[in-house]
Subunit: 214 residues, 2 copies
């Protein structure tokens, strides 16, 4: 019987070819591993997720995993990076929609970050496990991260005179950390819907107060 490796003569070129190139093979494996890892890390958490489980779900063995990743920590780092990129995309999108008003843009970016961080899976990866598993330095040195975006938005708002002049770093920490904690609190509130509404209302007041400050 044929071993099912019949060539797909479709026009898309997206189905696996009869003889996939090494790059394609590699990419597919990495993709499978990342998807499996993300699913398990997001639900069971970093510590409770075994690499064997990841490999089984991805349909490969540890040989493949350790060929593409240096270890569990680096695998998680890759998952975390992707998550940050997805979050950053949402933030940027919300920010750019009202970029004409520098301070309002920061508000919309903050709202986007808060709402995106309500997903328990996102929380588990980015807020609970990442600090302990990666450390602060590794989280910062990722190229794309949401804290950096927050900083840039605030710095721009200051440059444009939308809020009183000040160093941008302290406010960045307060806002970014505050939003992260808010996200954790909101989803665990008795009424998450109401809690989110309250959080956004308060965030609005906070932004207004900051803009009005001397």
């Amino acid at each position: 019987m044929a071993t099912a490796r019949t060539a797909a003569a479709d026009g898309t070129g997206r189905q696996p070819r009869a003889r996939p190139t090494q790059q394609e093979r590699s990419d597919a494996t990495v993709e499978d591993l990342l998807a499996a890892a993300r699913a398990l890390f997001a639900t069971a958490g970093y510590a409770a997720t075994s690499l064997d489980a990841v490999c089984e779900r991805a349909g490969v063995t540890k040989g493949a995993l350790y060929h593409h990743f240096a270890g569990k920590k680096q695998l998680f780092s890759a998952v975390y990076t992707r998550e940050q990129e997805r979050l950053a995309a949402r933030i940027s999108s919300a920010y750019l929609a009202v970029a004409a008003d520098p301070w309002e843009a920061v508000f919309e970016g903050s709202r986007a970050y808060l709402e995106a961080s309500l997903d328990p899976e996102v929380q588990r990866i980015t807020l609970f496990d990442a600090p302990g598993a990666l450390g602060w330095e590794a989280m910062r040195d990722l190229g794309v991260n949401c804290r950096e975006l927050t900083y840039k938005g605030i710095a721009r708002a200051i440059r444009k005179g939308a809020i009183p002049d000040r160093p941008a770093d302290p406010l960045t920490s307060m806002l970014y950390g505050g939003l992260s904690e808010s996200a954790m609190a909101v989803v665990r509130a008795a009424d998450p819907q109401a809690a989110l509404a309250e959080a956004l209302t308060d965030l609005r007041r906070l932004f207004d107060a900051l803009a009005a400050g001397s």
Copy 2:
């Protein structure tokens, strides 16, 4: 030769008696375990700390550890609880010193929390490892925790009219999370001293703005 169990006839009663009571034995062992665990958790981190290492440092075996604690997680929980109690004591002290002014008291409490959280060992336990190891619910249900103190302070400031009326929860999250993130950023700044000064200056402005808000 005598087995060195000569009774200490000192007046203090603090030295180990010739026949220590079970309570004393227990307490001493628990104390040794907690001290050893806190030292290792604070430096190497939760995951990198083995219970064997804790036992060796404490001068006991795993039999003793598992007699007093249900497992690694619970041991860490006990260490974390102590840390929170210490922090809460510092916060309360700073708060009460200026309790007459409800909002200023919250500021002083916040400053105390921020400054206390600059210690890398405190950070490692309370900010990096605790969320992943304990989870949010377990961190909240501790009886004594700093977030609760923040909430009470803010709620009181609202009741007393020191800041505009609003629900206390959202602001609690923003402030507590912001301070935590600030502590992590400050100690990793190029010039921590200057970063702390900037953070406190900005915190002052934030408090003024919140008090002035409509």
